[in-house]
Amino acid sequence: MTLDPILLRRGIPVSPSPYAVEAHGLVKTFGDNTAVDGVDLSIPRGGIYGVLGPNGAGKTTTIRMLATLLRPDAGEARVLGYDVYTEPKTIRENIALTGQFASLDEDLTGIENLILLGRLLGFSKQQARKRGRDLLEAFGLAEAADRQVKKYSGGMRRRLDIAGSLVVTPELMFLDEPTTGIDPRSRNQVWDIIRTLVAGGTTILLTTQYLEEADQLADRIAVIDHGRVIAEGTPGQLKSQVGAGALKVRVADPVQREEAAAVLERAVGGVVVREKDSAALSARLGEGASASPSLAALEEAGILVETFSFGQPSLDEVFLALTGKPAESEENDDAEPEIAEAAR
């Protein structure tokens, strides 16, 4: 890794931290409610880091501490190598926060919101207006520029909110539940935007309640529940913690199912489950096993296969295995079907 351009620009002769975030034992208590209960995080620079947890797990509180909005009750944290207690100003110069609830002025128009941020970040009035126009254009909001934000749709608000975080390009961007409660199309747009930002070199810390989202976007995931990190790793690692993947086969002719089951049993060397669907079979594969031999064996036996899939356990299953309860909290019941629908 080359020297950090920010440090170079400031002429600070410090070797840059390879971590975007390093936190140890962060604690935050509200009254007698311990919102964050000893969180450890090591987030490498570059890429997307996902913090996954149900409502009330402590995601927002953790982010607010890292973004220097909230002082931790205990623990240490360095953001981009700077200490949250002693160097908050430097941290703020290099981060951007897109909060869970739109961090926008609802009474102002889209362009006014961006000019406001541009002025605060040091642009002249003309520069800020130009910057605002360019951002609105890029985020597909040019037509809504002069409309009050309170008249924006959920997806438009989200995009404007993210645009607001890009008035100057941050080293690290916090995105707190960026797709909660927006429609699938807007969600896809937000995903696109996030991927583009990462390609541009920004590190992204994203929180989400959606397992699919973390799986789709994040390079690494911390699963957080009741203010504690209960698992951490790549999506693949997390899934393998729960066991290997499941093989699903549907034969073209139900008559051939028994024969197929016998072939599979030999190929995977394990138990094959006959599903309710009279043409379907499933089998759990052992650690490190490959699905290709099974498919080859079926073909060899002359069995016509309609569908054949090998999938890793879903993060739903991961959550269930880690916490002993499903990840969904009651509050997001309304939002969940949208995601499920989009997944189909």
Binding site: R71, E93, L104, S314
Partner: protein, 316 residues
């Protein structure tokens, strides 16, 4: 991990979401303006070496002041709310109570048109002060509303001078005070207010009132940072404002009150202010009264501004 690399073509089951780029493009029919392209976003990202230096205390405060003015532009009703009541008070006190009050104020015992005119001269500077003091409360309400929303976190995550949001709001409110004050004085003029101090006297009184309002606003800023809800802020502010404005010489001279109450009412900062404003508008300004107002202003800012800034920085 091995599974990941082993089975790329087959592991479709849980990865079967279409790549969002293609999907967003396909679904974008009829909404060309909403199109978001990766290329467009990449192009708009500002290279980190082109970041400007963040705004300082002054330009940050001025920017937040600009925001407050935009709010007046977008929600003029908030101005209407706070001026309609004083207009009603002015009309009511002059036309209905004016005769009786005037008889007392002038000491002539005569009621009617002349007494009303007499009372108007006494009352307008008073209601003028009361109106602006009432409006200062809205500074606290606005701030409390801001804090309960996500935008508060955004502002605090910026590398700017943090109190700029507070100072800027107070500066922006000066515009609101000026507008409201102008309305009251216009109504006053219509009902017969003809101050001896002339235009310069009125302007001097206005300026003094604006300074005081700015200083008093810090009290409401503190209240708004301490109270959990807008309603609570309103409740506390009202509880403070009513005695302050009514136990004063706004409506009647202190001399008409019971002896034990007079020193209390005279010490009320609002009475001190009203006296100074009356004198200025009368063209008979008195350094002692203005000095006393300045002293109150200094104390208000010295006490409440640091507390507010501390609370603002600590607010979670």
């Amino acid at each position: 991990m091995s599974q990941n690399t082993d089975t790329p073509p087959l592991s479709q089951e849980h990865r079967d979401l279409p790549t969002s780029g293609a999907k967003a493009g396909a679904a974008g029919s009829g909404a060309a303006a909403e199109q978001v392209s990766a290329a467009g976003i990449s192009a708009v990202l500002l290279p980190t070496d082109q970041r400007p230096t963040p705004s300082g205390a002054l330009s940050g405060s001025v920017t937040f002041g600009w925001r407050a003015m935009l709010k007046i532009k977008h929600i003029p009703m908030q101005l209407f709310d706070v001026t309609i009541f004083p207009i009603m008070m002015t009309v009511m006190f002059t036309l209905i109570f004016g005769g009786a009050m005037g008889a007392v104020v002038s000491g002539s015992g005569e009621t009617g048109g002349a007494a009303i005119t007499e009372y108007v001269q006494f009352f307008i500077p008073g209601i003028f002060v009361q109106t602006l003091i009432m409006i200062t409360m809205y500074t606290g309400l606005t701030l409390n509303k801001d804090i309960s929303k996500g935008i508060f976190d955004r502002f605090r995550s910026l590398p700017t001078w943090r109190p700029a949001q507070l100072v800027g709001a107070l500066l922006g409110d000066q515009v609101r005070y000026t507008l409201a004050g102008t309305i009251i004085l216009t109504v006053g003029f219509i009902v017969g207010f003809r101050p001896d101090g002339g235009v310069s006297g009125v302007l001097a009184g206005f300026a003094l009132l604006l300074v005081f309002s700015f200083c008093l606003s810090w009290v409401w800023t503190m209240v708004s940072l301490l109270m959990p809800t807008e309603e609570a802020v309103m409740g506390v502010s009202m509880t403070l404002i009513f005695p302050l404005t009514f136990a004063s010489n706004i409506f009647v001279p202190t001399a008409t009150m019971p002896g034990w109450l007079q020193p209390v009412v005279d010490a009320n900062p609002v009475s001190v202010l009203v006296t100074a404003v009356r004198e200025l508008m009368d063209g008979t300004y008195d350094a002692a009264s203005i000095g006393l107002v300045a002293l109150y202003c200094l104390v208000l800012v010295a006490v409440f501004a640091p507390i507010s800034m501390y609370l603002y920085n600590r607010k979670s």
